[in-house]
Amino acid sequence: MFSKSLFYFSSPQRFYPVAGKSWPWFAVMASALAVWGLWLGIFVAPTDFQQGEGYRIIFVHVPVSWMSMIIYLAMAFWALMGLTFNTRLSGMMCSALAPTGAICAFLSLWTGALWGKPMWGTWWVWDARLTSELILFFLYLGYIALTNAIDDPRRADKAGGILALVGALNVPVIYFSVKWWNTLHQGASVSVTNGSSMDRTMLDAMLIMAVAFWLYAIAMTLYRVRNIILARERHTQWVADLPEMKAMSTGAIT
């Protein structure tokens, strides 16, 4: 039953309206949670007695870091689906996820640097997390560059899928190798969330923000996958029959 419905919606034509109906809901929920989380994080959560107000960066830093990893895992999942079941939607989902993932990875680096400067006195530390995040960012850029450079969409999807899987295998190896390298060099291994005694409100705000970013990523991906479906299926009859194709064209002529 499950697999049947899965394959039913794996047709781009069927998925297009589903995505179109659902993305606004995810967007609304993401905005609502973001407002709530920011309110808790900026106005309610108390000052940290060690880090002062500077700790408030974690309300974006931790969610975007988590999302950068979750999105890569999601890409690897779709890549695997695409390469095993040969469904066209999988490749489209994979490339729809990548830009949001790249932005999250970049934001994780940016906010990490801004957090590191006041706390460690330096913008950058070669610790396992930051270094792996940097490599993850490069992997996203590589994926986007590769899929954009290939004209044939079928090859772009599959080549991107192979790259995403190879990258997913490599990320843990990179993480542990940097970690080992770091301990050998006696470097700083500081974590952003010192974890010891987080205030209840702080934790709540952080988790709410994390869910908000998750929903945002889903909304963006659904929105973008619709663009990809339209571009790929532009010559089909069902695209011509879409209401948005007609509504705007009559408007353009008159």
Binding site: V44, T47, E53, P99, W115, K117, N227, L230, M248
Partner: protein
């Protein structure tokens, strides 16, 4: 509410640059991503419409 005044809020206990730098960049990129996706969609729909219109036009002309 933990802030006593507006300037207090902006100052973020001396961490203003770092905190607002993080939140600001996040907001900017989220906004940019949304704008970019929306613009891509608008362009795409226009392109497809133009293509269809030209196909229809040429079909009648050549007859």
């Amino acid at each position: 509410m933990i802030w006593h005044s507006f300037s207090d809020f902006w100052a973020m206990g001396g961490y203003a640059v770092y905190v607002w730098g993080s939140f600001g960049m996040t907001a900017a990129l989220v906004w940019a991503e949304i704008a970019w996706a929306k613009q891509a969609r608008r362009k795409l729909v226009q392109n497809i419409q133009a293509e269809r219109a030209s196909v229809a036009l040429n079909a009648t002309d050549w007859r």
